[in-house]
Subunit: 461 residues, 2 copies
């Protein structure tokens, strides 16, 4: 909060009080927690890591909401929490209207929270989730991600490098946005929400405000970079640029996006070459924006008819690569599902064949398949339950489904009149906002991390 | 076709020509096929069984469409095929309006096709699918379902008994409907579409035509019986009535339905006790009708608001028990999904625990889990692809999704204005009708049976 605080001071806006008070509260609570803590255990148990992860995210959401409520940017606690959770989980759904005239420190705070959320998820994905065996992520476990004391320095260096990659990409993105024609303030904000695949903007119209192919191109490139496993960039540190090549996961992601773009462009009604180029521009931008779970909007893609609405609905679930900041089900899980599917067909024809599952040279063991499948089922059930709850809270069929999936997948905009690309979540009632906030948190922490803390077995013994 | 032909003769309707011609064509083709056949193999290979199953269903759908087109009940081939596929797959979606004034022989033909479809699926589920290892059905394989010559007489006796159970239930249902106040003709027709969980009616208003609690109660009881594994009734033949008790699958089904009924009644707005009783009546009827994938309608449940619309949307997927005539994903697969889900949570807390999966005393092996999971994924993908295709054919978002799921799950009515409980599939365009016809067939044959025949590997070698 120190940064927007300084910005407040510099700009002399009225929100300075809000940030000072927020900072004071946060620091006070943090210090008291440090003072009242008991002895620190030598080693964290699995339970500790689960609880710490969930609590860390909840606390950041809670304290992150303070500036919104204290600056009267939003009128009630529900909206403040919603905006904060949407930011930290890098979802990017907003309840604030009039962003263009909003105080700059609040705008910066929203973007920063997404950036911090992205940072957190990179660290979580690299070091914590594989250790916790969540959703088949172990397939990508670096040898060093072990929480024993012996390997801790190694893990720490690995994490520091990942976070440096994150910062370098953020800076490169800022520079690129400035070159593309953004003001430095807009560039900084959008860079932070691009690399975190968050999607908050400093304008109500999102990226449609700029109406610039250059800006959209920069956004597309960096959204794709943000959806790539950050581990891929580590060879940069040893100067081995030659080893910097896209792995199978990245190739699958790019192929999937390209296929969907071709499908949309082929389908959409274009009369001449110039309108075709326009369709390509908008299709490519939104497929990448929704696919990587960023959620920037450059035109009202919901007005393209029901075919694209259904395509974008499914695209919501796709997501990027594991180890990136993107959400959703993620490409590698679809690949494992495909392997399973192909294997089932083979087994039907050759019941006694011995089949080896492998992906990118790694053996896909039965328990990795089981956890991927459990994740997919949990994802589907979560979307289903959230949709039922949202319908129960009084929303229509399309809004319930779309809001549920866009929240669990951490995308941002959905489809339909209420939560579509040109609308805003502010018109939803309080119950819906709480349901969606919880759904965003569930989705961001790969569902099981939150669910397990809510089971009685977790607290037993 | 002989039966409606006789009915035509007796009633002296104009449709008699249609049935005579249809029968002549069918018999001619059948006889030519018998004459031109090559040597019959001693033993059927796995490929033969797959191909036979798919071809049998397609041929019945094709020849079953003849009376519709020849009697001018429908105006084009698309509608005739749609109605025929919807009947044989026991889906129950119809494109015919004015059922109340339709010739009786055509009405009887529609109901008979559903009844034959139900018969076929009982035989398929008991003897063919477990042998083909489709979708984890092997869990319920009777020891005798082996296609070797040695056990063939045993298998045949087993099948004959199952089909006798099917007929006895059909007759009991007819009698019950007559007692409940139906005319004998209505009773025969509805009995055939109840035990097959098909859902065709002789009235446009479906069961709302009768507006009778007695009729609805009979329907509810026999829809539930039709959704139970028919193997459960086999002890009747040995006179051991005491062993006739619901297994775990049936108990889960009843519990699930009861829970959803309670949820709906609790949610719906009732002012006094009499309106509450009315809600209970309609909720119970439609939860059972949609849950068992029958698809009878006794009131416009789509007008109950978006909460019930979302609930009914999900209910579409549930289905009944395996080995019954019902479609959908089926209860035992949800149980296996739940076991997998619970196991994942346990494994997160105790990574090295050795867990045994079992269900109803059977061990749930890894390959059963894999085939259940592959089925669930295939089901979800099929619904997704069909929804995209339907949106591409020009349908709105809700119609695309609802028609896709109601078709793949073989339910019948969906939600929304176009395919909802009080509407009819006739307003859809031809492309949509073909897509839905294919989806119904895919769903009825448990997806993989059809998919595998469409793979190049199937035809190789």
């Amino acid at each position: 909060m120190f940064v927007p605080c300084m910005v407040s001071l510099y700009l002399g806006t009225a929100d300075i009080k809000a940030f000072f008070v927020s900072e004071a509260i946060t620091v006070t609570v943090a210090l008291s927690m440090i003072f009242i803590r008991k002895e620190v255990p030598d080693r964290l148990s699995v339970r500790d890591v689960f609880l710490l992860t969930v609590l860390a995210w909840c606390l950041v959401c809670l304290f992150g909401a303070l500036p919104f409520i204290l600056s009267h940017t939003v009128s009630n606690v529900t909206d403040a929490i919603f905006e904060s959770v949407s930011a930290v989980t890098t979802t990017g759904a907003t309840v604030i209207t009039g962003l263009d005239s909003l105080a700059r420190d609040i705008l910066l705070w929203r973007s920063m929270m997404q950036w911090i959320g992205g940072l957190g998820i990179v660290a979580l994905g690299a070091a914590v989730l594989p250790f916790l065996r969540i959703g088949g992520m172990r397939l990508f476990r670096a040898e060093s991600s072990d929480f024993s004391e012996k390997t801790l320095p190694h893990t720490r260096r690995y994490l520091v490098r990942l976070l440096m990659v994150y910062m370098i990409i953020s800076m490169a993105c800022t520079v690129a946005y400035v070159i593309a024609g953004m003001t430095p303030f807009d560039a900084i904000n959008h860079a932070m929400t691009t690399v975190s695949t968050g999607g908050f903007s400093t304008h109500d119209a999102s990226l449609a405000f700029f109406d610039s192919v250059a800006v959209e191109s920069v956004a597309m490139v960096f959204m794709l970079i943000a959806a790539v496993p950050f581990v891929m960039f580590l060879p940069l540190f040893s100067g081995k640029l030659g080893t910097l090549k896209p792995d199978a996961q990245v190739r699958s992601m790019l192929t999937s996006y390209a296929a969907i773009i071709v499908l949309l462009v082929w389908w959409l009604d274009w009369d001449d070459q110039s309108s075709m180029l326009e369709w390509i521009r908008y299709s490519a931008f939104h497929v990448i924006s929704i696919g990587t779970t960023t959620g920037y909007v450059s035109t009202d893609y919901a007005s393209w008819g029901s075919f694209s609405a259904v395509v974008f609905f499914f695209l919501t679930f796709v997501g990027g690569c594991s180890g990136s900041t993107s959400g959703g089900i993620k490409i590698f899980r679809f690949k494992i599902a495909y392997i399973l599917f192909r294997e089932t067909l083979q087994r039907l024809l050759h019941p006694n064949a011995v089949l080896m599952r492998s992906m990118e040279g790694h053996r896909v063991t039965d328990d990795i398949v089981a956890s991927v499948v459990a994740f997919a089922l949990a994802f589907a059930c979560t979307v289903g339950v959230v949709a039922i709850l949202l319908a129960g809270a009084g929303n229509d069929f399309v809004t319930s489904f779309s809001a549920a999936s866009t929240a669990v997948a951490n995308v941002g905009p959905g489809i339909g009149d209420v939560v579509g690309p040109v609308s805003n979540f502010s018109s939803l009632n309080d119950a819906s906002k709480w349901i969606i906030s919880f759904a965003m948190l569930l989705g961001r922490l790969e569902i099981f991390t939150v669910l397990i803390v809510l089971t009685p077995a977790f607290w037993r013994g």
